[in-house]
Point group: none
Chain length 131, copies 4
DNA sequence: GTGGTCTAGACCACC
DNA sequence: GTGGTCTAGACCACG
């Protein structure tokens, strides 16, 4: 499957999993009706405890992204793509907002902030990493 | 004093205090030789556990921003302004990096990211916000 | 046939099937001596695992609603209509009991609960709904 | 404290805890700003695993009923009473709806259903049980 | 095979 | 002391 987690990057593992599912849905590589890997399978392939995967899936369920189909697994809901695209925007926008806010509060001007972004976007290491 | 903390915003309180000291130094409102409030005074005025203020000061000391002046308390070091400006850059740059990284990984293009920043910079509520 | 199942509604599928058979018997649309569809046939038409249909029938057998007639399949017993009517009452009564119990425990008064029922009974969409 | 759980009533323990907190808030015995018992304390007094209590609290958090105050515990939010009263109604109404729906579908008339409720409300065992 | 729940016990950062 | 996260392993109902 197409999930990778970094156990030491500060973001909780269950959250990394949930985000990647959402990104995959937002990007179209997971479609409504698709089944997500089983808890046991994913936990094995990520070398992570089943409970951790389970928690990620549970949060996605309560967010309306996944639904259980009794005994057969979890699948992407019909409303998921919309919700995921919205959520993706919201998450990125919130983080961008808080960076800019802190930058301004710490005394940086718009010019400096823009140059900061330019530097980051020029970073060649970006395009390679697929989630 | 000019510190404000929000015990509910997810950022550790000691970290909020330490950042604000650093920003004040970077911005010049705290100068080398100035004394910071005593642990007891600040903890009272912020309604915060003294241990928490203490920890903030401890981190600032080990970062070379504060030094104890025997008997009289803690004051801003001579090298602090430089260090704080550098630290400020580093913190902002790291956060900007991680936002951009997530945005790209989630499938957004450089154009969209730039537009996101533009929107944020246009936000008129920026200068007013107190930490 | 006249069965409908919803694999996503939280009620076990075998239970949905068993209930519908019982309701049909209680209501007279299935009579003693009538044959129920074979496991294979019903499982195909409901797009459901044969084990699931099998389990529904097994429970109905052990409840005395169905009996095997050698070679030809399962049919409604002579005592089924009585048993189903009783069972229907019991199930509804139990559920009503537990709703009322929770309502009272959560602080609602008899008056509010009665008004709740009145609202539900007034709902015009009732008779139309298919299981 | 005022929580009781029944480990064998079919409702998940974490759910029983969460409901009781909500009912307590809806009924006013827990007010905004009040602290809820600590995870460890409640888990001890209910003879339940800390993770189970933790999960109950987590769900309440994501529902906006509780918020963490760093290092000091979890407290009732300002918006909780409203949310809990709404949630309480919603839960009871949904259950009443589904009972009535099943009753009607199984062939019972409004008269019989009303009489069912009357019987339940007359049950003297009701008033005693406090959650 | 599937998910859901629970227990037990550990480690972390924070106050 | 507090909550948050994770692991390990168990049991259940369901298909």
């Amino acid at each position: 499957m197409f999930f990778y987690i970094d156990p030491r990057n500060g973001i909780a593992i269950y959250d990394q999993i949930a985000r990647q599912v959402m990104f995959a849905v937002a990007g179209g590589s997971l479609q409504p009706g698709d089944r997500v890997p089983s808890v046991r399978e994913l936990s094995r392939s990520l070398a992570v405890n089943p409970n951790t995967v389970s928690r990620a899936y549970r949060e996605l369920q309560s967010g309306g992204i996944l639904e259980t189909v009794r005994g057969t697994g979890l699948e992407i809901t019909a409303t998921a793509p919309d919700a995921c695209r919205k959520e993706r925007w919201k998450m990125i926008r919130e983080r961008m907002h808080s960076v800019v806010e802190e930058a301004v509060r710490s005394g940086l001007g718009a010019k400096e902030i823009r140059s900061l972004l330019r530097t980051e976007l020029a970073n060649p290491a970006l395009r390679k990493t697929t989630p």
